[in-house]
C-alpha cells in the first residue's frame, strides 16, 4: 500500500551542524555544557547565584563569623564581640554532655562509651565485605552484643549500679532505639515475610493484616499506641518502663517495613532454588534456613541499611511522647535562658543537622556501594 508521506516528514535535507569544538577536552566540554545556548547560560547563571547565596552565608556563619571560645551567652553577643556574630560554638560545648548522654550520671558515662566501642568493633568487620568470620561475627553482633549492651547500659550487676532509663537521653537514646529497632525487627520481619509468602491461608492472612496495619498508620500513632494504649492491655500489676514501651512500638512498626524488604529478597530467588532444595528432601524450615534465606538476606542488605536510615531519622519522633533523643535534648537546650542568643537556634540546628547528615549520608553511600557490588555479581 502506498500513501503520501505524512505532512510532518521532512522533504529537503537539513543543513549540516557545525563541527564539534576542538581543543582541550575538559574545558571545551565544560564550556559547551554550561553555555551552549542562551537558555543554558541563564540556567547556569541562576544555579550559580543560588549556590553562592546559600553556601557563602553558611560558611560565614559556621566558620568565619563563628565564636569559638566563651563561657556564657555574653560571649556570643554582638555587643561583646563588636562584630557580626555567627555560630555560637560555646553553646554546643556547654550542652554537649546533655546532647550525647542526656542525664546519664557523669561517673557512669564510660559504660555508654564502652558500649559504643564494642558495637563499632563488631559492626565494622560485619560491614566490610572482605572481613572473615561473617557468620560468627553476625551471631555475636545480633545475639550477644544486645545482651551485653543491655547489662552495660542498664546495670544492676555488682559493680555496675543501675541507671534508670528516664535518665537516658540525647544521641544515646537515638542509637539505642534505632539499633534495638533493627535488631529485633529483622527476625520479626523475616517471620512475617515467610508467613506472607506461605501457602497456609490463615497464616498468610494474619501476616498480611499485620503488615498492612502497621504500614498504613503513621509512626506517631504507633508511639501513642505503645505509650497510652498498650498498658491497658497488660495486667494491672505490670508497670512497663517508658522506653521499653516505645521500643515495642518501634519494633512492631519497623518489623512490618522489614517484612516487605525481606519479601523483595525472597521474590528475587529463582524458583529453581526452592525446587532444588525440595528435591534434596529438605523440609520447609531447613529449605528456608539453609538455602533460601542466606541468599535472600544477602540480596536485601542495601534494603536493610535503608530501613536503618529511615529508622534513625524516625527515632526523632519519640520526643513527642516525652523521651528526649538528640533532637529532644536540643530542643530542651534551646529553652535554657542562660544561652539565649540570636544565633543559638541556628547553631544548635547546624550541629544536630551535621550529625544526622553525616550518619545518614554515610549509610546511604554504603547501601549504594553494596547494591552495585551485588548487581555486578549477578551480571557475571
Amino acid at each position: 500500500m502506498t500513501a503520501l508521506p505524512p505532512s510532518y516528514v521532512r522533504r529537503s535535507l537539513a543543513e549540516p551542524e557545525p563541527p564539534p569544538i576542538a581543543g582541550p577536552v575538559s574545558v571545551a566540554a565544560m564550556g559547551v555544557r554550561l553555555l551552549q545556548r542562551p537558555s543554558n547560560a541563564v540556567l547556569t547563571l541562576i544555579s550559580a547565584v543560588i549556590i553562592a547565596l546559600l553556601l557563602w552565608p553558611a560558611i560565614r556563619f559556621l566558620f568565619i563569623d563563628a565564636v569559638w571560645d566563651g563561657a556564657s551567652r555574653i560571649d556570643c553577643l554582638r555587643e561583646t564581640q563588636g562584630r557580626e556574630v555567627g555560630a555560637c560554638w560555646p553553646f554546643i560545648k556547654a550542652k554537649l554532655p546533655q546532647l550525647m548522654y542526656g542525664f546519664y550520671p557523669e561517673s557512669e558515662r564510660w559504660r555508654v562509651d564502652l558500649t559504643y566501642l564494642l558495637g563499632a568493633a563488631l559492626l565494622v568487620p560485619l560491614l566490610v565485605p572482605r572481613a572473615p568470620y561473617k557468620v560468627l561475627n553476625a551471631i555475636v553482633f545480633f545475639g550477644l552484643f544486645p545482651v551485653g549492651g543491655f547489662f552495660l547500659l542498664v546495670g544492676g550487676l555488682p559493680g555496675l549500679p543501675e541507671v534508670e532509663t528516664r535518665l537516658w537521653g540525647g544521641l544515646l537514646i537515638t542509637l539505642v532505639i534505632s539499633f534495638t529497632g533493627i535488631i529485633f525487627s529483622l527476625p520479626l520481619g523475616i517471620l512475617l515475610a515467610l508467613g506472607r509468602r506461605s501457602d497456609l491461608p490463615i497464616i498468610r492472612a494474619l501476616c498480611m493484616a499485620f503488615i498492612e496495619i502497621w504500614r498504613g498508620v503513621p509512626l506517631i500513632t504507633v508511639l501513642f499506641f505503645a505509650t497510652y494504649m498498650l498498658p491497658f492491655f497488660l495486667p494491672v500489676s505490670w508497670r512497663i518502663d517508658g522506653l521499653l514501651r516505645v521500643l515495642i512500638g518501634v519494633v512492631l512498626f519497623a518489623g512490618a517495613y522489614m517484612a516487605e524488604v525481606v519479601r523483595g529478597g525472597l521474590q528475587a530467588i529463582p524458583r529453581g532454588q526452592f525446587e532444588g532444595a525440595m528435591a534434596l528432601g529438605l523440609g520447609y524450615w531447613r529449605m528456608m534456613g539453609l538455602v533460601i534465606l542466606p541468599q535472600a538476606l544477602r540480596l536485601v542488605i542495601p534494603g536493610i541499611v535503608n530501613s536503618f536510615i529511615s529508622l534513625f531519622k524516625d527515632t526523632s519522633l519519640v520526643l513527642i511522647v516525652a523521651i528526649f533523643d538528640l533532637l529532644g535534648q536540643l530542643r530542651a537546650a534551646f529553652a535554657d535562658p542562660a544561652w539565649a542568643t540570636p544565633s543559638t537556634l541556628f547553631t544548635g540546628f547546624a550541629f544536630a543537622g551535621m550529625i544526622y547528615f553525616v550518619a545518614n549520608f554515610g549509610m546511604s553511600r554504603y547501601a549504594l556501594s553494596m547494591e552495585r557490588r551485588l548487581t555486578s555479581g549477578n551480571d557475571r
Binding site: P6, S7, Y8, R10, M30, R33, L34, N40, L43, T44, S47, A48, I50, I51, S198, D199, L200, P201, I202, I203, L206, E212, R215, G216, V217, P218, I220, T221, F224, F225, Y228, M229, P231, F232, F233, P235, V236, E275, M278, G283, Y284, I309, K313, T315, S316, L319, I320, L327, R331, F334, P342, L345, F346, F349, A352, G353, Y356, F357, N360, F361
Partner: protein, 413 residues
C-alpha cells in the same frame, strides 16, 4: 496449589510420578494423620489462631480491669460530650461548646488540608528537581543533587522544628513585618494574604471563567485533530490563555468590578482582615513539601532513566528539542514507572502530616489523639479511631492505585 508448602505440587502431579504409581502400586499407602502434611498444616494454623484468640481475650480482660481501676467508662459516648477547648485553625464553624465528635472532624479536615496542599507543592517541586537533576547543565544538576541529598538525610521532624523555631519564630512581630507589595505580610504571627471579597455579579465572572476553560479544552481537541491531519501546529497555549483570561476579564469590567481583595491592615498589635496562615501551618507545609519533593525527585529521576535511550535518540532524530522530547515522549512513558511509588509518597506525606503535633498544628493527631485523649483518658477508643482513619486512607489509596495500575498496564502491553 496445595495447602502445604512442604507438599510439592510439581512432583506429585508430574506425569512421571503418575506412571511410576501405575506400575508399582495402584493406591498410595495410607499416611498416619500425624505425618499427613494437610492435617499438620491445618493443626498448625488452628493452633496459632487459638493462641491469638486467647491473647486477644486476655487483652480484653486486662483492658476491662485496667479501666475499672482508673474509673474510665468505655465506649464511644464521649464523642457527644462538650469539648471545652479552642482550636486555633478550623475549616468549619467550631466553638468551645462543640462536641468531641466535632473536634475530630476539625482535626481530620486540617490534616486533609495540609496534606492536599502539600501534595500539590511536593509534586511540582519534585518533578522540577528530578528533571533538573538529569539536566545536561552541570551546575543545575549539582544544585538539584545537593538539594536531594541534604533534604533526604535530615529527619523530617528536624526540618519542621527548624522552619518553625529557627525561621518563622525569629521573624519580626506584626508591626515590623516583612511586606510584599503592601498586600502580603510575613511575621512571627504567620503569613497574611489578602482575602477575596465577592460582590454583586461575581457569579457572572465565574460563569465566564468556566465557559472559557471549556472553550480552551475544545480548541485543544480541535487543534490536535488539525495537527494530525495537516501537520500544522496551532498555537494552543496562547489561545488557551486568551480563552481563559479574556472573557472573565471582560465580564469583570462589564459588571463593574465585583470581586475585590480585602488587604490586611495593621490595627494595634495585630492584623485585621485578610487570610491568616498560622506559622505552624506554614512551617509544617514547607517542611512536608520540601521533604517529600526530594523523594519524588528521586522517583522521577529513576522513572526517566528507566525509559530506554533509544526513545531519546528517536525524539532528537525527529527534531524535537529536549523540553519537547521530555514532555511528549519521555515523561508519558516514565509515568508508568513513576506513579506507583509516587502514590506511596503521597501516603507518606499524609501520614507525616501527623508530625504537626510537634509544633502545635491542630491536625487529627494533635487535637484528637493529643488534647481529647488527655481530657478523657479513653486511650483505646481514641487511638483506635485515629489509626483506623489513617489505615482507611491508606487502603483506599492503594486500592485506587492498583486499579489505575491495572488499567495502565492493560493499555500498554
Amino acid at each position: 496449589m496445595s495447602d502445604d508448602a512442604r507438599d510439592l505440587p510439581s512432583c506429585r502431579n508430574s506425569p512421571g510420578a503418575d506412571r511410576a504409581d501405575a506400575i508399582r502400586s495402584p493406591a498410595p499407602p495410607p499416611i498416619a494423620p500425624l505425618n499427613n502434611p494437610k492435617f499438620r498444616a491445618l493443626a498448625w494454623q488452628l493452633g496459632l489462631l487459638a493462641l491469638l484468640l486467647w491473647c486477644g481475650w486476655q487483652f480484653a480482660l486486662n483492658a476491662r480491669a485496667n479501666m475499672q481501676a482508673q474509673q474510665i467508662s468505655g465506649g464511644f459516648g464521649f464523642l457527644a460530650n462538650t469539648a471545652g477547648f479552642g482550636v486555633n485553625q478550623s475549616l468549619i464553624a467550631y466553638t468551645e461548646s462543640d462536641t468531641y465528635g466535632r473536634v475530630f472532624l476539625v482535626g481530620l479536615l486540617n490534616t486533609l488540608l495540609v496534606a492536599g496542599i502539600g501534595i500539590v507543592l511536593a509534586t511540582i517541586i519534585g518533578f522540577l528537581v528530578g528533571i533538573a537533576r538529569l539536566s545536561p547543565n552541570w551546575m543545575l544538576a549539582r544544585l538539584a543533587g545537593g538539594y536531594v541529598e541534604l533534604i533526604r538525610n535530615l529527619p523530617l521532624l528536624f526540618q519542621i522544628l527548624f522552619w518553625y523555631l529557627a525561621v518563622l519564630s525569629t521573624l519580626p512581630g506584626p508591626r515590623q513585618s516583612i511586606s510584599l507589595w503592601g498586600e502580603i505580610y510575613l511575621s512571627n504571627r504567620g503569613l497574611i494574604l489578602p482575602a477575596p471579597v465577592a460582590g454583586n455579579g461575581a457569579g457572572y465572572v465565574v460563569v465566564a471563567l468556566v465557559l472559557g476553560v471549556l472553550a480552551a479544552i475544545a480548541v485543544h481537541a480541535w487543534a490536535r485533530r488539525g495537527q494530525m491531519r495537516s501537520g500544522r501546529a496551532f498555537p494552543v497555549l496562547w489561545s488557551s490563555f486568551a480563552f481563559i483570561i479574556l472573557p472573565p476579564l471582560a465580564v469583570f469590567c462589564a459588571t463593574g468590578f465585583p470581586i475585590g481583595f480585602e488587604a490586611p491592615r495593621l490595627r494595634g498589635f495585630n492584623f485585621v482582615g485578610g487570610i491568616r496562615l498560622l506559622p505552624e501551618f506554614v512551617a509544617l507545609l514547607l517542611a512536608l513539601s520540601l521533604y517529600t519533593a526530594a523523594f519524588i525527585a528521586e522517583i522521577v529521576r529513576a522513572g526517566i532513566l528507566a525509559v530506554p535511550r533509544g526513545q531519546w535518540e528517536a525524539a532528537s532524530a525527529l527534531g524535537l528539542r529536549r523540553g519537547l522530547a521530555l514532555r511528549l515522549i519521555i515523561v508519558p512513558q516514565a509515568l508508568r514507572v513513576i506513579v506507583p511509588p509516587l502514590t506511596s509518597q503521597y501516603l507518606n506525606l499524609t501520614k507525616n502530616s501527623s508530625l504537626g503535633i510537634a509544633v502545635g498544628y491542630p491536625d487529627l493527631v494533635a487535637v484528637f489523639a493529643g488534647t481529647v485523649l488527655n481530657q478523657t483518658g479513653q486511650a483505646i477508643e481514641i487511638i483506635g479511631i485515629t489509626m483506623a482513619v489513617y489505615l482507611s486512607l491508606s487502603l483506599v489509596t492503594s486500592a485506587l492505585m492498583n486499579w489505575y495500575n491495572a488499567r495502565i498496564t492493560a493499555q500498554n502491553r
